[in-house]
């Protein structure tokens, strides 16, 4: 799925680790790790939660880009 994200950058700005972000968002550290690697696309609910924690809009963290092919 062509969903790119800058979650790691925003998390670093907040100064928290994956475990803490996971606890704040109600998910496991593994899920945060998967999202940051781009291996998992979060649900709308989780994306909104993460955006709220990072105090930005969802579009600032997640970008959808179509493949040209």
């Amino acid at each position: 799925m062509p969903l790119y994200n800058q979650l790691k950058e925003y998390r670093s700005k907040l100064g928290i680790n994956q475990t803490d972000l996971g606890k704040m968002a109600g998910v496991s550290r593994q899920t945060i790790s998967l999202i940051e690697r781009g291996d998992y696309s979060p649900s709308v609910t989780l994306a909104l939660k993460l955006a709220k924690i990072c105090e930005v809009k969802v579009e600032d963290i997640f970008q959808y880009e179509e493949d040209e092919s």
Binding site: K8, Q18, T19, G26, V27, S28, R29, Q30, T31, S33, L34, I35, E36, R37, Y40, P42, S43, L46
Partner: protein
């Protein structure tokens, strides 16, 4: 539209080709079975069973030892991996997560394979008719095999419980008591969306693999019964499992759709 119409005959044609190939494979197998029956074992399973019976106790003992060694090995690997999970950096955590999944899967695979082997060996080698005619020494061997079989199962249950407790220690958000009948429900409820997604994908893979396997097994058990008198029960059991799996899946799909309509 023309393209769509063109597709239909092609897919039926491919299906016919596949069926013919399977018929051919079946014919070749039947040819070799015929040769085997003419020159080989005439009474089928009972002859094979008599051959293996004296080895039942040693085989179960070997299964016991090998399974304990392997399960202990993977348990320790898992414990070591989980020890480092909490403090791991992001990149290291990804590797450790993968290793945790791998060692857990190997542990459970050893557990289940050993259980199945035990069942197969015990049911293959002993029967009521044999027990009625067995000598005292042979009955003692049978009793020893049964005792070892029971000990194996206690240990399998112990390792399963140990695995669950290890995971819960490393991931405190995971809920569920293995002794409770709602264990799987509670465990699933404590999984987050990414974990559930992994479960769904793996479950679907298992469903499709089982579907193919059961079709083959249904044919195989029927033919084995016809040729080697293995018993109609195997055919019935495989059929029941196939039906249960398919009906459960379809019922679940319908229920999920029904829930959306609030019916």
């Amino acid at each position: 539209m023309k393209e769509k119409q063109g597709n239909k005959p092609n897919s039926y044609g491919k299906l016919m080709k596949r069926m013919l190939i399977y018929l051919g494979i079946g014919g070749v197998c039947g040819f070799f079975v015929g040769i085997f029956m003419t020159f080989g074992v005439k009474n089928g399973m009972s002859d094979l069973s008599d051959l293996v019976r004296p080895l039942a106790l040693p085989i179960i003992a070997v299964i016991f030892v090998v399974s304990i060694v392997l399960m202990e090995f993977y348990s320790r690997k898992l414990k070591d991996t989980m020890k480092h999970l909490e403090e791991a950096e992001d990149e290291q955590y990804e590797v450790l997560s993968y290793e945790e999944e791998k060692y857990g899967a190997m542990l459970m695979n050893c557990n289940v394979i050993s259980q199945v082997c035990d069942f197969i060996v015990l049911s293959f080698t002993f029967s009521r008719s044999w027990l009625e005619e067995a000598s005292g020494k042979e009955l003692a061997g049978f009793l020893a095999a049964c005792v070892l079989f029971c000990i194996n199962f206690f240990l399998y249950g112990y390792y399963q419980m140990r695995y669950v407790k290890m995971v819960q220690a490393a991931h405190p958000e995971k809920r569920g008591d293995m002794n409770s009948k709602n264990f799987q429900k509670d465990w699933m409820a404590s999984c987050d969306e990414a974990e559930k997604e992994m479960v769904y994908q793996s479950a679907y893979k298992a469903y499709t693999a089982l579907g193919k396997m059961l079709q083959i097994l249904l044919c195989a058990t029927m033919l084995l019964h016809l040729v080697f008198h293995t018993g109609i029960l195997a055919v019935i059991v495989v059929g029941v499992v196939y039906l249960t799996m398919t009906l459960t899946y379809n019922r679940s799909c319908v229920s999920l759709q029904k829930a959306k309509l609030n019916l």
